[in-house]
């Protein structure tokens, strides 16, 4: 599956762009930096902000890659339609835009491949259907949200509760703002400092086994290894509340980090969770060198929003 995907994209990339950004396709790290102890060097500050949608929109069905002109048009349109300074569209939509555009930082460019979705496998660019079990779980969650939208803090999302940012990973997916990551390396370790919500994800590379299955963590339990020039990170032991588009606690997440040039890491992840998805699926997201720095994102400490939201719910009940 991966193989087929790689071959297809290689053709596309070969036509459209010299110097592919996809994993495994880069020249085997020649000219790329290595750490003093010989590991490929992924260190630096990176952002994965992009306006390329995660899944391919229905309107682009069948179209895997944009032309340069289409891409430019798309970028221009996105600026307009996503502009939070836009005040049209009715009350709730306007409310949902929350605040001025200057607070947002979701990128202005499509990904370098001009693919029409970050999901690259299945080839339709869409997350595969949920299994009946996962559908049931999703329905139960929706029902719970409907019945008790704000009875207590646990009814709210992990992001609202300042526990876990849904896009900060793993896996790392572009979000509305602060899409910033710092990668540091030491012999035997790779550490990914994520701005959202201030997590230092420490990944051992020494081949140790995963933590006992009884230990469940919001961000799972990650183990890394080098596969040629690519860092491969396998993460398991997620909690049953960690939820990547419907995934369950037994999701096995495999991430690949390949530095393809001084300013780009090709980042891909594959979600393997038969209990939740009818097939495994993969997304590819370039990480681009950014200036930084990573700022403190103290979330819970200033989470007036939770108080306001619950107080509002209580007031409405009366």
């Amino acid at each position: 599956m991966m193989h087929r995907f790689a071959r297809t994209t290689m053709i596309v990339a070969g036509v459209l762009l010299a110097g592919s950004t996809l994993a495994g396709q880069a020249p085997a790290g020649r000219g790329l930096a290595r750490t003093p102890w010989g590991d490929p060097d992924l260190q630096g500050l990176w952002t994965n902000a992009t306006i390329t949608p995660f899944e391919r929109p229905a309107s682009l069905s069948g179209k895997e890659v944009l032309t340069e002109r289409e891409a430019a048009e798309y970028e221009k349109e996105a600026l307009e339609t996503r502009n939070a300074d836009n005040r049209g569209g009715g009350t709730d939509a306007d409310l949902g835009r929350a605040y001025n555009q200057f607070w947002y930082d979701r990128g202005t460019k499509v990904v370098g491949t001009r693919r029409t979705s970050l999901v690259v496998d299945p080839p339709d660019g869409r997350v595969p259907p949920l299994t009946p079990d996962a559908q049931q779980r999703a329905a139960a969650r929706a029902e719970a949200r409907r019945r008790s939208p704000a009875d207590g803090p646990e009814d709210r999302s992990l992001a609202e509760r300042c526990i876990l940012w849904p896009t900060a990973g793993p896996p790392m997916i572009p979000g509305g703002y602060n899409n910033n990551y710092q990668i540091l390396q030491a012999p035997g370790y790779v550490v990914i400092l994520t701005e959202m919500i201030h997590d230092a994800r420490i990944i051992p590379l020494d081949g140790r086994p995963h933590a006992p299955s009884g230990i469940r963590q919001w961000m799972g339990d990650s183990r890394g290894r080098w596969d040629g020039h690519t860092l491969v990170v396998t993460t398991t032991n997620f909690t049953d509340k960690t939820n990547i588009r419907g995934s369950g606690p037994n999701m096995r997440l495999v991430e690949r980090f390949t530095r393809v040039d001084a300013d780009t890491i090709d980042y891909q992840f594959t979600v393997d969770d038969p209990a939740s998805f009818t097939r495994s699926w993969t997304a590819a997201i370039p990480m681009t060198k950014t200036e930084g720095p990573i700022f403190e994102y103290a979330c819970h400490e200033g989470n007036y929003g939770m108080t306001n939201l619950l107080r509002g719910a209580r007031a409405q009940e009366k």
Binding site: A200, I202, A211, R216, G292, I294
Partner: protein, 277 residues
């Protein structure tokens, strides 16, 4: 303004970098080979390694000897300060071979932790729990007696070296007899009363508990601690725990008192306090 912020952030980033660097040089327990380390000898000139010192485990086994994720603590008001830190566990294979009835009892213990855990009442913690509570203990070693003095509840026990004496009755801290196997202090502990637990997760044993502890110096400041647990009334087979114990290297290290009786009197006797009118 911008510069100042940046300076602070850079410092912050440097701290992360340092933390990463220090991760890399942390020795792992398996990396410390007792075969290559020769401990200093006892001042008693009996040729035995000198285990004197103040030691402490640095893990969360007292919360749960098995692997466990972090979880909320039982007292709402204590919030994050007294919630439960995660730990990889210290049990070999992470599996405790309970008999079926005992597995059910363990669950019940965990569910009623606050009511049932003897630690909460300041009872002496028994062995091996005393070793890995979050308190230091001091080893006082002579050729015939090795005293283990624990800070928690002023508990202590004497290890009688090469002794055949039996305990006259059941006890909280057990009856300890020791011997040397090379540089390893091997302690056989029995005569438990069955009232103590292994941790705050409800792991327990009966009065048939038999503990064999092994203390092996693996570097100047680390003892490797391996324990075999046997209790035919509760488990289907013997099982093991192991962990490093670290020396408290502070120059002024000393055991202070943790006489917790007075901390639990209101809890235990409060209902008998005279009501003031």
């Amino acid at each position: 303004m911008r510069t100042r912020i940046r300076g602070a952030i850079v410092a912050c980033g440097a701290a992360v970098g340092l933390a990463v660097a220090s991760l890399a040089v942390l020795p792992t327990a398996s990396g410390q080979s007792s075969a290559t380390y020769k401990a200093p000898r006892s001042a008693f000139k009996d040729g035995k390694p000198d285990l004197n010192g103040i030691w402490q485990a640095n893990n969360t086994a007292n919360w749960d000897i098995q692997g466990h994720a972090a979880r909320q603590g039982p007292i709402l008001e204590l919030g994050a300060a007294f919630s439960v830190p995660a730990g990889l566990g210290v049990v070999e294979g992470d599996d405790i071979p309970y008999q079926p009835w005992a597995a059910a009892k363990k669950k019940e213990n965990a569910a009623n932790w606050l009511k049932l855990d003897p630690e909460i009442k300041c009872y002496m913690p028994g062995v091996p729990r005393a070793t890995y509570m979050p308190f230091p203990f001091q080893i006082v070693q002579t050729p015939t007696h090795i005293l283990m003095a624990y800070e928690f509840a002023s508990a202590s026990r004497t290890i009688y070296m090469n002794s055949k004496d039996e305990s006259p009755a059941d006890t909280w801290m057990g009856w300890s007899r020791g011997r040397w196997e090379g540089d390893t202090l091997v302690v056989d502990v029995n005569a438990f009363n069955g009232e103590t637990w292994f941790d705050r997760a409800g792991n327990f044993h009966s009065d048939a508990l038999h503990v064999v502890e092994r203390y092996t110096p693996v570097s100047r400041d680390v003892l490797q601690y391996d324990v075999t647990i046997e209790d035919p009334k509760v488990f289907t087979r013997p099982w093991k725990m192991s962990m490093p114990l670290y020396r408290r290297v502070e120059k002024n290290a000393q055991l202070l008192e943790y006489k917790c009786v007075e901390f639990v009197e209101e809890l235990m006797y409060g209902h008998l306090r005279k009501k003031t009118k």
